[in-house]
């Protein structure tokens, strides 16, 4: 399943994506999160040490988290700020901590948290504003380490067809 979380208020982007992938027979779930109540991560560590796997913040993110752990791909559509994804996009990623456990291990030559679930969800980005795309691509690769998965890349809104071509 391909999960697309749109943190912008522009639902035209997801409609365009649907048009691109609709005839490929891809099972896609779209979450329009632009008006959802999704807090930033407060770093309480409860999801690791007090209520394992469960975020202490009770808002609309829990439904997204439940979908992430079942998705083959997670695509986040985000506005940009300061050359990067904006805070609404970043919060989607910051709040993924419950998919990891407190336990540690080495993955390759670097420390990582042991994953809580078996599913490996690849990660892609689509951004709607001006950003440093080279950096975003690099960041998405690093970001995927937190999912123990692969990066699907970072794409501007203008390259949405390229992103759609990576959805499977």
């Amino acid at each position: 399943m391909v999960l697309i979380v749109n943190t912008t208020k522009d639902t035209g982007i997801t409609q365009e994506l649907q048009a691109h992938i609709g005839n490929k027979g891809i099972e896609a779930q779209i979450v329009e999160a632009g008006d959802m109540k999704i807090s930033h991560c407060i770093g309480c560590n409860y999801c690791w040490l007090k209520t394992p796997g469960v975020c202490s913040i009770k808002d609309d993110y829990e439904e997204i988290l439940k979908k992430i752990i079942k998705a083959d791909q997670l695509w986040v559509i985000s506005d940009t700020a300061l050359g990067f994804i904006d805070h609404k996009g970043k919060n989607i990623f910051d709040r993924i901590l419950p998919i990891a456990t407190m336990y540690l291990k080495f993955k390759g030559d670097q420390m990582r948290h042991v994953a809580r679930y078996k599913k490996r969800t690849d990660v892609g980005l689509i951004v709607t504003g001006e950003a440093d795309m080279d950096y975003l691509k690099k960041w998405t690769v690093r970001c995927a380490l937190n999912f123990e998965s692969e990066s699907l890349g970072a794409y501007s809104k203008e390259s949405i067809e390229e992103a759609a071509a990576c959805m499977s």
Partner: protein, 217 residues
Amino acid sequence: MHVLIINGSPRVKKYSNTDKILAKFTEGLSSQGNTFEQYEVSDRKQWDSIREAWDRNGNILIAIPLYVENIPGLLLEFLASVTPKDGSTKIAYILQGGFAEGAQLRCGEEYLVMLSKRLGCEYKGTLIKGDNFSIRFFEGDMQDRVTGPYQKMGEVYGQTGDFFGEECRKFTGPEIFPAHIRLLLGIIFKTIGRIMFGKIAKGWGCEKPLNYKPYGT
């Protein structure tokens, strides 16, 4: 010099590892005849005051815990709300994280170089160090053992106004651990580490195994 210090952690001050690092760092900074004012991004009631201090100050230091390879969403939200400076303001960063290797923080560091330009500031370096996750679990001497070295870095920054020197570079420690250390640590993680985290969790009132799967497999 007078420095505006922003604690960029979204965790409340009482439990903020970054705040405890700053406590030691500012001891060193003050010992060199410098002054500072400090604010917490975690407290939204301070945001107007921080923006006012942002406009007024020419030396800014932001202390940041790494969140998913970059700055936390809350800090990003705050920084997007400030007015970029005119290029004469100097900005430096303390970037800290839980994982012990320096390599884990480089992606975040790369962004901070770019961020400085976006904020209209002159980049004066990033002090990088991991292995700080345990700070909140320690008190007294045990906590000082982790945070204490930041005092010396506060002195260095207080003298030079940047983190470009060799001492700051060395402060990071190993970029990655050699294979034999990784092997040893891997065994510790699977044994003593799990017991230790289990004990902490019990102390927090945790009633489930730490690898519990609340949403199925």
